[in-house]
Each structure stands twice: as C-alpha cells, then as structure tokens.
C-alpha cells in the first residue's frame, strides 16, 4: 500500500516548554500529534508595545511517514500558508534527529532559517528526499513577532510535505 495522506503526520518534539528557560526541541514525541489546536506549538506570544523589541520563538516539530510498507521519495517540505508572514523554517540534517536549543527563545545552533514559502522554495528532506517508512524529519520553526502587532485570536500556519510514494 502506498503512503497515504493520513500517513504523513506532524508531531511535536519531546521538549516544548512553556517557559523561556528550559531545553527546547529534542527527539520526536509521537504522543503529541499536532492537530491544529491553538497553542500546540507556539504559545505565550506577546507582541511588545510599539517600539519595543522583536520577540522570537523557536519550536521543533516532526513530519513522520507512518506508512508501514512504503517510503516517500523526493520528499520536500515547505510553508504552505503563513498568513502573518512570521515563520521561517529549517530542516534537521538527520532524520529522527535529537537537536535541541537552549530554550525556546534561543535558536538551535547550526541552522539557517529560510522562508520556504512555496513549493519552488521547498526544503528537500535530507538524503535526496528519501523518507523511509517509520522515519521522521525534524522541522525547526522560527516565529518572529515584531513589536506593536494587533492581537490575533488565531493564526493558522500550514506546513506541507509532498513526495512520491513507492508501493
């Protein structure tokens, strides 16, 4: 059976602290599927008063190929929708990785965050886009919150993964 859309799931990482001090990121947390609930990934976001500092928050999520039989080839990931233009991303260099950052407001070392706002600028999954069944790739997200923003009750950031399934 090929990889189905439902096989490609998004999960949180093991460390997603609700403070600015604890370790952030780490391995995949398959008990924490990201389903679109508010605050699952980014939280405690406050835009400072106008003229104040820009706030950054870093989070790591994982796209996992949950197929038990098929792999994903030429897999690439991009930001499908970023209505506030606040998010950039980077892929972990190894699959099923454990990279972490010092805390949620400190960037992980060795990463360059890019916009990847459409398929043409999508990031290819390391290993020529090969995502074995059962494998996951870490996606670091950087949210930039300038000062003086109007509050938003809900912002839907959408990530897209696309590839070719082998039967």
């Amino acid at each position: 059976m090929p990889v189905l859309e439902s096989d490609l799931k998004l999960y949180g990482s093991l460390y997603m602290p609700r403070n600015d001090t604890d370790i952030n990121g780490g391995g995949i947390d398959t008990a924490n599927e990201i389903t679109g609930e508010i605050g699952e990934v980014f939280n405690d976001l406050e835009s400072e008063e106008e003229g104040g500092p820009t706030y950054y928050q870093y989070r790591k999520v994982f796209f996992k190929n949950n197929s038990t039989t098929s792999n994903l080839e030429n897999a690439k990931i991009w930001i499908f929708s970023d209505p506030e233009s606040q998010v950039t991303m980077a892929l972990e260099s190894t699959k099923d990785g454990n990279d972490q950052s010092e805390n949620r407001i400190t960037p992980p070392s060795g990463y360059t965050f890019v916009e990847a706002q459409d398929e043409d600028h999508a990031l290819t999954v390391p290993g020529n886009g090969h995502l074995e069944n059962g494998e996951a790739i870490g996606v670091w997200l950087k949210l930039t919150l300038p000062a003086g923003l109007a509050p938003k009750n809900r912002v839907d950031l959408k990530l897209k993964i696309k590839g070719a399934s082998t039967e």
Binding site: P2, V3, L4, E5, S6, D7, L8, K9, L10, I34, T35, G36, E37, I38, G39, E40, V41, F42, N43, L45, E46, S47, E48, E49, E50, G52, V61, F63, L72, E73, N74, F80, S81, E84, L141, L143, L145, A147, G148, L149, A150, P151, K152, N153, R154, V155, D156, L157, K158, L159, K160, I161, K162, G163, A164, S165, T166, E167
Partner: protein
C-alpha cells in the same frame, strides 16, 4: 518481444521502473498573538499590581495590601472578567477571589490625565484628588478600538480605601466615559 496489453516493458511501471504515487499532506499549526498589554504577573504578598495601592495609586490608610497572581488584560473587548485573589481586613490575611472587569477602554485614547473615582456598590464615593500633592503617576497599558496597544500615563490618587475593605468586596469595575475623561473604579459589595 511481444507484450500483452497492460504488461510492463521495463520494471513495474507503465513506462518502466516502479510507479511513484504523488502524495502530500498539509498540517496546521495554530497560534495566538496577544497584545503587549496582556500580562500575567506573579506578585508576592504586599506587592502592588498597579501603582502603590492595592488597586493603584497611593493608599493613605493601608489595611489591605495583598495581591497575588494578577492576570489582567486590556483589549478592545469592552468587558472582561478576571479573577484576582487578594486579601483584605486589618492585618487579617484572608484570600478572596474577586472578579475584575475593565469596561470600555475607548476613552483612553483621549487626553490624559484621567480622574479615577473609587466607589462601592452602595454608591459611596471615595474622594480623590490630584494637583494637590496626593496624586501619583503610574502607567496603565491598554488597548483601544482596533486592537492598538498603547501606554498612557494616568495620574490619579485617592484618600482612603478604609471603608471598602470592611465589607466583602468581590467585584471591581473600571469604566471610563468616552468624552468625559473620567475613569471609574467601582467596588461592589455582595
């Protein structure tokens, strides 16, 4: 080599090799942006949430000076009720949860300073004054229509809160009139 209909020439695909089926998935990450004036502060016993007084400003008769966790929010929502634990009574440490409500923040877009009136629900007004040495400047962050956050320096003071601490005060309402530039803090007895 002759092939029958549907047979593969090379590999397993129609045109050779294995067939690759394109698959994609979109996953949503939802988040919320709060205005800068949304704060949740942990205050120790005796610390003030706003200004020096329990409810801001200077207290001349300090009988009640306990405020603990004080989540509060100024948004363009005209009414917002939040719980604020506090203590009252003469040296009696007793927690009460009160509902704290900001009502109509629109007038804060007008000129400052504003006058604050403290009143209990039995219409007793606590006098205040400024320009006579009793006032105190402090900062109230707020939002107004359009969700634009600003900071205004609001000057006010009051003489005494003695009487209002002798009842069971559960509700505070801060209101402000759009044109009169008068803000009001109302303490309701229950």
């Amino acid at each position: 080599m002759s092939l029958r209909y549907g047979e593969r020439v090379f590999g397993t695909g129609v045109f050779g090799g294995s067939e690759a089926l394109e698959v994609s998935a979109v996953r949503t990450i939802a988040y919320r942006i709060s205005p800068s004036v949304w704060r949740q502060a942990s205050l120790g016993y005796g610390e003030r949430a706003f200004g020096e007084g329990v409810f801001g400003g200077r207290e001349w008769v300090v009988e009640n000076e306990a405020i603990r966790i004080t989540p509060y929010q100024f948004t363009s929502v005209l009414r917002k009720e939040l719980d604020i634990p506090y203590n009252w009574g003469i040296r009696v440490e007793k927690d009460r949860r009160i509902s704290y409500r900001y009502k109509s923040l629109i007038p804060f877009t007008a000129n400052i300073p504003y006058r604050f009136t403290l009143a209990t629900s039995n219409i007793k007004t606590i006098p205040y004054k400024y320009n006579s040495g009793l006032y105190r400047d402090f900062i109230i962050p707020y939002s107004y229509t359009g969700h634009i956050s600003k900071i205004a320096s609001i000057r006010y003071s009051y003489l005494s809160l003695t009487s209002i601490y002798k009842g069971t005060v559960r509700k505070i309402t801060i209101t402000a009139t759009p044109s009169g530039q008068i803000a009001r803090i109302e303490l309701e007895r229950r």
